[in-house]
Amino acid sequence: MTDQAYNFAYLDEQTKRMIRRAILKGIAVPGYQVPFASREMPMPYGWGTGGVQVTAACLVPEDRLKVIDQGADDTTNAVSIRRFFQRTAGVATTEATTEATVIQTRHRIPETPLKAGQILVYQVPIPEPLRFLEPRETETRKMHELEEYGLMHVKLYEDIARHGQIATSYAYPVKVEGRYVMDPSPIPKFDNPKLSGNPAIQLFGAGREQRIYALPPWTEVVSLDFDDHPFETSKAPHDCDLCGAQDSYLDEVITDDQGGRMFVCSDTDFCAGRRAKGHAGRLGAGQKSSKTFANSFEGIWPGTEGAR
């Protein structure tokens, strides 16, 4: 049910050509933020206007689109973007990472390893990793030009001086192919190792900030660190309460006002897939989706059968 009033994938052809040229230059200079003439989209800034424009420029009718928001397929943002492209591009959609050809994501990389032929599109709020250290665009541009990233190392050092460790836990800065320091968007640093040597094409779109950048497949991406304080991933020290996974990134969900809580996979497709295969965690079986469970009345209300 494509809406015939709109061009294929919503954007006009002139706009898509402009975005496509920016994507190709981004691919040619991995990690460099290419300015582009971001359009107003029928959603507010901060809801993924950059990612949506990149996705619109890449989609073909044969694509199978997956959209995730913090790992979940069934949250408002993910559902509305998926329906947007269902209506304007007529593409098929899926929640399965393995079936998707284009995956638009907000703040997570799927747990299931990606493969060649897939495109991962990130929604980026602030693309400039140096922005909170240096507010002037003219200066940060000069710093990228001169490869002058001392300020970022000072910031990480001050983390260590204050907290005894690098306290940055998301949007952890990375260096791409030994040249550009890049903001991997606010993904947890747990996901940083998946950026490097990934067989899929990774594209980053920042709508309000009007920047597109990219990582071609198999690009070397190194998280910044020090010899005596090496980069470490982090996650909640628990197993998933629904599927029992020990190696996935977890959300903490408060289940009552008595201190009750549970940890569930942030990647709903990964969690559901494991439970379909018979894996079960502490709170076990019978729920369709971790987020559905967490948001359901039964899940929150103590003492009913659903809470167990």
Binding site: A9, I27, A28, V60, I201, P217, T219
Partner: protein, 213 residues
């Protein structure tokens, strides 16, 4: 574009009359674009994206029928990437009236000398010296030229390619290596290349390291 097809057939039938020669040339310029631009350009861009993101892989594109001597793939690349906001340089045999007319009608890109062009099209020999093309500025390396290089054929045999987009190494029959090594040495500045032959297309961004083997 479908409107242009009957007139093309008509002028073909009357091609014996010399006074019709000009209108035949014109109808050639009017045909050969995408019939369904949004979908065809989307499919073609995905192939170009895969080609550029995985240097050395040879992809197949379709949808354009540009006038000789342009290949299908070169025509597709122009239709997908160029428009009135991009300066185009036609080099050598590609710089002929039928191609100029076709570009003017379907793309509308202003023709420009090599030094100021965003895109350049021609055979590798015609594009020489490639050092005259824009390589971007240190603070804006994206403001660089993209060369669409017409080749006789594309095969995965020849100089070795390594770098972003390539798992270990791959090979492509590049016209030479010295120019691409010099271009890589400018990184993050430099021009990017698309190689076209028939309906095949391959990419070589500035980030790729090229070695003779």
């Amino acid at each position: 574009m479908s409107a242009a097809t009957p007139s093309a057939a008509q002028s073909e039938a009357q091609s014996e009359a010399p006074s019709e020669a000009r209108s035949e040339a014109r109808s050639e310029a009017l045909s050969g674009g995408f019939a369904d631009a949004p979908v065809q350009s989307a499919r073609a861009f995905r192939e170009v994206l895969e080609a550029m993101a995985r240097p050395g892989t040879i992809r197949k594109v379709a949808g354009a029928r540009p006038p000789a001597p342009l290949s299908v793939a070169a025509g597709v690349a122009l239709l997908v990437l160029c428009d009135p906001t991009t300066r185009l340089h036609l080099a050598g045999a590609a710089d002929c009236p039928p191609v100029r007319d076709w570009v003017a009608f379907h793309i509308g890109a202003p023709l420009a000398p090599a030094e100021t062009a965003d895109f350049a099209l021609g055979r590798w020999e015609a594009l020489q010296p490639v050092t005259r093309f824009r390589i971007g500025q240190p603070d804006y390396p994206d403001r660089s030229a993209t060369l669409i290089v017409e080749c006789d054929r594309l095969v995965n045999h020849g100089p070795a390619l390594t770098g972003p987009g390539i798992e270990t190494a791959t090979w492509l029959n590049l016209p030479e290596t010295a120019a691409f090594r010099a271009n890589r040495a400018l990184f993050p500045l430099g021009f990017d290349c698309l190689f076209t032959a028939g309906d095949r297309i391959a990419g070589l961004p500035r980030s790729t390291r090229v070695e003779n083997i």
